[in-house]
């Protein structure tokens, strides 16, 4: 029975009512495909504007958007961003200036459309993302914020993995403000769900384990249950965390249709000691909560430093204060106590001298590394935190970046954290990217203490350094990043590429890395055919799950579109490669020093975005909007199909919707080849060595 209060809310609702919101996600070997289906009813006789909005994860790319209004299909097209189109465009709202700014934490996909009187509109949005392993878990977040009570709301997540899934957790709905989507690094202190059932107040989550490698999670609160959580339709984030079994081997390699993806996350390795300098903003704007939370986090971080680590602190405002001048100190109880005193006495005032702070930190580390106390195989890093733009000393971002590069001399990495809204995130991201680090943002309202500690936890335990992943010479092409400065505990390195010879029996994979004073070489011959068969098996399972999901999604839409998810799954390894290549292209573009270099990276990332229909900072999603007459009826449309042929694509644009892999243009081929040349190729086949040894032995049969 629907309570009277809920009925009243529904009756009072003037905007078109969401009859159904179904979200189906299939996570196939950590690559997540999500389809969001929304059916909206305009009860009134006059036309009304329907708003479809959906929060997509920060790392995801939208790959399709389709509307059906008044029986007509309006399908989106991904185009070059520079190309202005008069018709409606469905770009995510936050992406308007994202060409120059780094990815925000989450993006709101928004589309408004006029729905004729007493008519329905159907929206279908699809996005894809490669789940990143952080703190030993993959986290999948679905935003459930339809902004109104929904008659039929359902979320289905199917996890199909090559390796057995472990430690699956479904967290209670993360309510409140739109929070980070896994970028936070903070882990809410929530209990593991006993028996696979969430401890959320809403008793509607079920976790069903079908078989060893297939898990299905469903969440479908009815309208009354939704009203109990929130009458405004802001339910929160539905978060699933899990990991997969792994060991110290070469990792997990998947092969499909001439592409491969290699997940490398070894365990059972000892931590490498680190030399770390914390560079902390103590300018006036840090006053209050920010400084208190920063101090809390630093106190906790101090406890987590390991005996082999060396550290120092720098605070900066107008003045730069170095806790232990000219040296790094080892982790001893006395040093920890003194460091706590230093942190305790930090008082925010003055401006923000970012350049000076980085120079001081770099000079400390350079001197330490050239001294007798440093271990050649330890990992050295700066953790830099600020809440503002540079206001003292060097103010120009380009100069700061140049000075930083000169100071760092590729001897250590810089990890940057920005707090709040007044940060030059582009500066921080470039600073991190150019110096083998990462950047994190802490939003104004977030719990900075937990997020700062979470970020430290991610990078606090380096396990390997100078990691190099090589594949048999001439067997692979267009390999994504295969050299990594560090591998941190709980993370994962992912490499993808194309196989030049699809019929090859095996691929030799070699990983070389350093762990403290040891060099480690991992190598194996990967049986390509067997892996292809295994991956196909998983794809079949995924396609079946997607077919069930598609059936549940609104048959009208699927009749029109076929089952797009299923076809995506069939090429998922290629899509992982495309996804990673686009990300890499965008990162390289941000890092580029010259306009020519930037142009090359832009071209590469754009071509790939267009090829795989990814809505990225370089592309627009264009969709024709229906015209509705004043009397509420649809205007007669000149064409039924989407306006794909309105304009000929520019010469450098790849055709969009092709099933087969596109031939890459000359630029990319040159670039990838040069990249391939840079990476060492394996020629040696280790196989089973024949060795000359003495017969002196003790053996069995």
């Amino acid at each position: 029975r629907v309570p009277r209060q809920v009925k009243t809310i529904l009756v009072k609702e003037t905007k078109p009512h969401i009859e159904e919101l179904s979200i189906r996600t299939t996570i196939l070997s950590r690559y997540a495909f999500t389809a969001v289906y929304c059916a909206m009813l305009n009860r009134h006789s006059a036309a009304a504007e329907g708003l479809f909005q959906f929060q997509i994860p920060a790392g995801a790319y939208v790959s399709n958007f389709t509307m059906i209004i008044g029986g007509r299909v309006y399908q989106s097209e991904v185009r070059l961003k520079e190309k202005r189109v008069k018709q409606g465009n469905g770009k995510p709202k936050n992406k308007e200036s994202s060409d120059t700014s780094p990815e925000p934490e989450g993006e709101l996909f928004k589309m408004t459309a006029n729905i004729p009187g007493r008519n329905r509109a159907f929206f279908l949005l699809m996005y894809e993302e490669l789940l990143q392993r952080r703190l030993g878990r993959y986290e999948h977040v679905t935003s459930l914020r339809p902004t109104q009570l929904v008659s039929r709301l359902s979320l289905d997540v199917t996890i199909i993995d090559h390796s057995p899934v472990t430690d699956l957790e479904v967290l209670p709905l993360r309510n409140g403000k739109i929070s980070g989507t896994g970028n936070s690094g903070a882990r809410p202190n929530t209990p593991k769900t006993p028996g696979g059932r969430t401890k959320s107040e809403v008793p509607v989550t079920t976790v069903i384990k079908n078989e060893k490698t297939v898990w299905k999670i469903t969440f479908s609160p009815n309208i009354v249950q939704q009203a109990k959580i929130s009458t405004s339709g802001i339910l929160g984030d539905f978060v699933i965390r899990y990991d997969v079994q792994r060991d110290m081997g070469i990792g997990d390699i998947q092969v499909l249709n001439g592409h491969f993806v290699h997940f490398f996350a070894p365990k059972d390795l000892p931590a490498v000691p680190k030399n770390v300098v914390f560079v902390i903003d103590s300018s006036a704007s840090m006053l209050g909560t920010k400084m208190r939370q920063t101090k809390d986090a630093l106190f906790t971080i101090l406890k987590d430093l390991r005996p082999g680590d060396n550290f120092n602190f720098i605070s900066f405002s107008n003045r730069i204060k170095v806790w232990q001048p000219n040296r790094l100190v080892p982790v001893t109880p006395l040093n920890i106590r003194d460091a706590k005193k230093f942190i305790f006495t930090l008082i925010p005032n003055g401006g923000t001298n970012i350049d000076g702070a980085i120079q001081s930190g770099s000079s400390l580390l350079r001197e330490y590394l050239s001294g007798p106390d440093s271990s050649p195989n330890s990992v050295t890093l700066i953790i830099f935190l600020t809440d503002g733009r540079p206001t003292v000393g060097e103010l120009q971002s380009t100069s700061i970046l140049g000075n930083t590069r000169s100071a760092v001399q590729e001897k250590f990495c810089i990890f940057t954290i920005g707090m709040g809204n007044d940060v030059d995130y582009r500066l921080l991201e470039r600073m991190a990217l150019e110096n083998c680090g990462m950047m994190r943002r802490i939003s104004e309202e977030a719990d900075a203490s937990a997020m700062l500690k979470g970020f430290y936890d991610e990078i606090g335990t380096p396990l390997l350094s100078d990691i190099r992943v090589n594949y048999t010479e001439d067997s692979v092409d267009y390999v994504t990043q295969n050299l990594f400065t560090n591998y941190f505990n709980g993370s994962e390195l992912v490499i993808a590429g194309k196989l030049t010879n699809r019929s090859a029996e095996s691929l030799h994979v070699q990983v070389t890395a350093s762990n403290n004073d040891r060099n480690i070489i991992l190598e194996t011959d990967v049986p390509l055919r067997r892996l292809q068969i295994e991956t196909e098996k998983h794809v079949k399972a995924a396609s079946a799950a997607m077919a069930v999901g598609a059936k549940a999604l609104g048959s009208g839409v699927m009749q029109v579109l076929g089952n797009p998810l299923s076809s995506i799954a069939e090429d998922f390894v290629e899509r992982v490669w495309g996804f990673l290549s686009v990300k890499e292209g965008l990162r390289s573009r941000l890092r580029s020093q010259t306009s020519k270099e930037r142009e090359q990276h832009t071209q590469l990332a754009t071509n790939l975005s267009l090829n795989y229909h990814f809505l990225t900072p370089l592309t627009n999603m264009v969709v024709e909007k229906p015209e509705v007459l004043l009397d509420g009826r649809m205007a007669p449309a000149p064409t039924i199909a989407p306006a794909a042929d309105e304009a000929a694509p520019p010469l450098n644009e790849l055709p969009g919707n092709t099933d087969k892999p596109q031939k890459l243009d000359g630029n990319m081929r040159r670039q990838s080849s040069s990249q391939s040349n840079k990476i060492g190729k394996v020629e040696r086949k280790p196989a089973k060595k024949s060795f000359t040894i003495s017969k002196t032995s003790a053996d069995g049969d």
């Binding site: 060991d247 110290m248 081997g249 070469i250 365990k267 059972d268 390795l269 000892p270 931590a271 762990n515 403290n516 004073d517 040891r518 060099n519 480690i520 070489i521 991992l522 190598e523 194996t524 011959d525 280790p686 196989a687 089973k688 060595k689 060795f691 040894i693 003495s694 017969k695 002196t696 032995s697 003790a698 053996d699 069995g700 049969d701």
Partner: protein, 241 residues
């Protein structure tokens, strides 16, 4: 397990069996005081004897190597993984090829085939990984231990294999008694050990070696009795008997 000892100077190969008991840890190489290297092997039994007339076989389930220099390291090899324990611990699976090299100590796994442990450049041991796809009841996944390079081991090295590394042996023929063939004896450390001619397969059965076989758990061939080589635990480095 079957033991084979090669005496290069004497150009003789001697072999013997020591069956032991499941759970026993046998000291194979013991040079703790000098080169700092000790090798022990733990026995397991098969779940059934190969035939009604034969006794239950034992195999090496784990080989442990303790190396003292430059710092003490413990290496534990099983058919599925290698645990490298020094200041910290690394667990390496045997199903992929892995090399861990820290200068004085190196461990190299060739996937599902063998593990080579090199200490200081002039001591190396090869451990073969015997894995059965469809084992019979009397078969167990087990290990074979081979000495690759013993130049770095001292003349005082001991253990079931180690004691022979610097020894010379000789072969003598005992005159035949009436109605019997002449018998052979091995002269080792002033002891005479009756031996017979046998053939052994080594290196996972890929090669044959003709050897002089000493019966009764190598009685008289080895110093003391085989029970003297049973140690209290896997990482025991006590000197030989």
């Amino acid at each position: 397990p079957h033991f084979v000892v090669e005496f290069p100077l004497s150009k003789l190969t001697v072999c013997f069996n020591i069956n032991g008991e499941p759970g026993h840890v046998l000291r194979l190489v013991s040079d703790h005081k000098y080169s700092g290297v000790t090798v022990n092997g733990k026995l397991i039994g098969a779940s059934a004897p190969p035939g009604s007339h034969k006794q239950q076989r034992t195999y090496f389930s784990t080989i442990t190597i303790v190396a003292d220099h430059p710092k003490r390291s413990y290496i534990e090899v099983t058919p599925t993984k290698v645990i490298l324990d020094g200041r910290d611990r690394i667990v390496l699976p045997c199903h992929s090829s892995v090399t861990v090299d820290s200068g004085m100590l190196s461990v190299a796994i060739v996937q599902n085939s063998n593990v080579t442990v090199t200490v200081g450049g002039n001591i190396s041991f090869i451990i073969l990984l015997h894995q059965y796809k469809n084992p019979a009841p009397y078969q167990r996944n087990h290990l074979g231990f081979y000495i690759g390079n013993s130049k770095g081991l001292s003349r005082n090295c001991h253990g079931l294999l180690g004691q022979f590394l610097s020894e010379e042996v000789g072969l003598a023929e005992l005159p035949a008694e009436a109605g019997t063939k002449p018998s052979q004896v091995l002269k080792v450390k002033n002891r005479s050990v009756p031996v017979v001619r046998k053939s052994r397969r080594i290196y996972s059965g890929t090669q044959h070696v003709d050897c002089w076989f000493a019966r009764n758990n190598a009685a008289k061939l080895i110093d003391g009795e085989y029970e003297d080589y049973v140690t209290s635990h896997m990482f025991d480095t006590g000197d030989g008997p």
